[in-house]
Symmetry: C2
Subunit: 265 residues, 2 copies
Amino acid sequence: MTPRLYIDATLATENAVALSQTQVHYLKNVLRKEEGSEVLVFNGNEGEFSAKLVELKKRGGLAAVGPRTRAPEKEPDLTLLFAPVKRGPLEMIIQKATELGVSRLAPVLTERTVAPKLNIERLQAIAIEAAEQCGRLSVPSVDKPIKLGALIDAWPQDRRIIFCDEAGDDETKEWGGQDGRAAPILETLNRTDSKAQQDVVPGALLTGPEGGFSPAERAMLRANSFVAPVTLGPRILRADTAVIAALALWQSAVGDWRDGVVTDA
Amino acid sequence: MTPRLYIDATLATENAVALSQTQVHYLKNVLRKEEGSEVLVFNGNEGEFSAKLVELKKRGGLAAVGPRTRAPEKEPDLTLLFAPVKRGPLEMIIQKATELGVSRLAPVLTERTVAPKLNIERLQAIAIEAAEQCGRLSVPSVDKPIKLGALIDAWPQDRRIIFCDEAGDDETKEWGGQDGRAAPILETLNRTDSKAQQDVVPGALLTGPEGGFSPAERAMLRANSFVAPVTLGPRILRADTAVIAALALWQSAVGDWRDGVVTDA
């Protein structure tokens, strides 16, 4: 398989693009590529192009951009709001969310978040690598962490948040009624009117830390009409499992895993 | 949280159960439990019971079984047929599939499987640990590896296999027509008549190795009426991502993530 390289610069046929030290190291020492080898270069703005490696030096390299192989595509506008967890599952979340087509990764600090010091640059690098391997054109952005309260205060009211409430209805009887009820995630996703549309509507998913959300956080979230609390089955899921499950369901029900969805720009 | 211990022996109130060396080590050295501490013991046959640690010796221990805390439950009959992959993602598959309610884990050897020597005992231990942590009562069984051809030859015709065909329709035009078409997984799951039923129907999901299935394997699979080829979106998913995504969709569409499904025995 031809290596794919994400290029954070304008791409155009017959131009040259600079390769970073990291990219050169990967091409030379991991993939054993040499000057003259074919690669693919891409980004979300201009699409994907075939390219030829013309220079591989220790301090960086150069590739000559050839014909375009893929035009830019319209991709789902999907934000993942997630409580950071420890390193292994955190990196898993970034990698898998990228494979599953998320456009924005937003770490959210909750009461029970055991906050590791987040290395945003490292997380962004994981997202780039995952985008290169899964064949997508864009790379999701990784936000700086934000506190849950501040996030909700500033949230655009017209964008629904699918709130994955691990505890489901067990502790939530106090909110009572249909409104506060956490329904199965697929039921809630199917209830959207976006299914009638050919296009994908913007979305956001919120997942919690290992200990779940606090009762105060759950009440605060449910008090907002743009928050739809949902359940993910009768078993306790780890944080990374919940993210992957919820994203796959979103893409299947209202995203680009459906047939006939408009994905061309 | 009270530790949960899976016990592969008959459980009954006022009886004692033996604890293995591994269980004692975990209780004493990881969880810092002492004689007298409360635990939960469970299995799929008798359910879950509270218990008290009465002996913690190097060679094994003993717990006194108290009142039953959960009756046995009817659980989905769902087999995961998966091509083994390298150690990290393989262990991820076992752990996540257990959290997602699989009843049987069957490693399947395909043409492109880079077969690691499978340590079934170790995989079974991972499944037990995941069952203890996710709150389920049963532990999925882990089969010995079987070749794909032999598996399909012996397969019960009345049990559908949802075949996650990563390549989707791209290479499959040769099989043509509606029959051989790989539809989006949710579309296929929704097409089942089991949705009309309150109960969960038996199922099986088949996922491939990193390189996907060979053209010959894909033709062979599609030649069987019990095989339903499905796609998992436009991006390339890693083997473990595909497993988690497919299982979450199965549970949501036809399994026990739905409301009102009969789960009591």
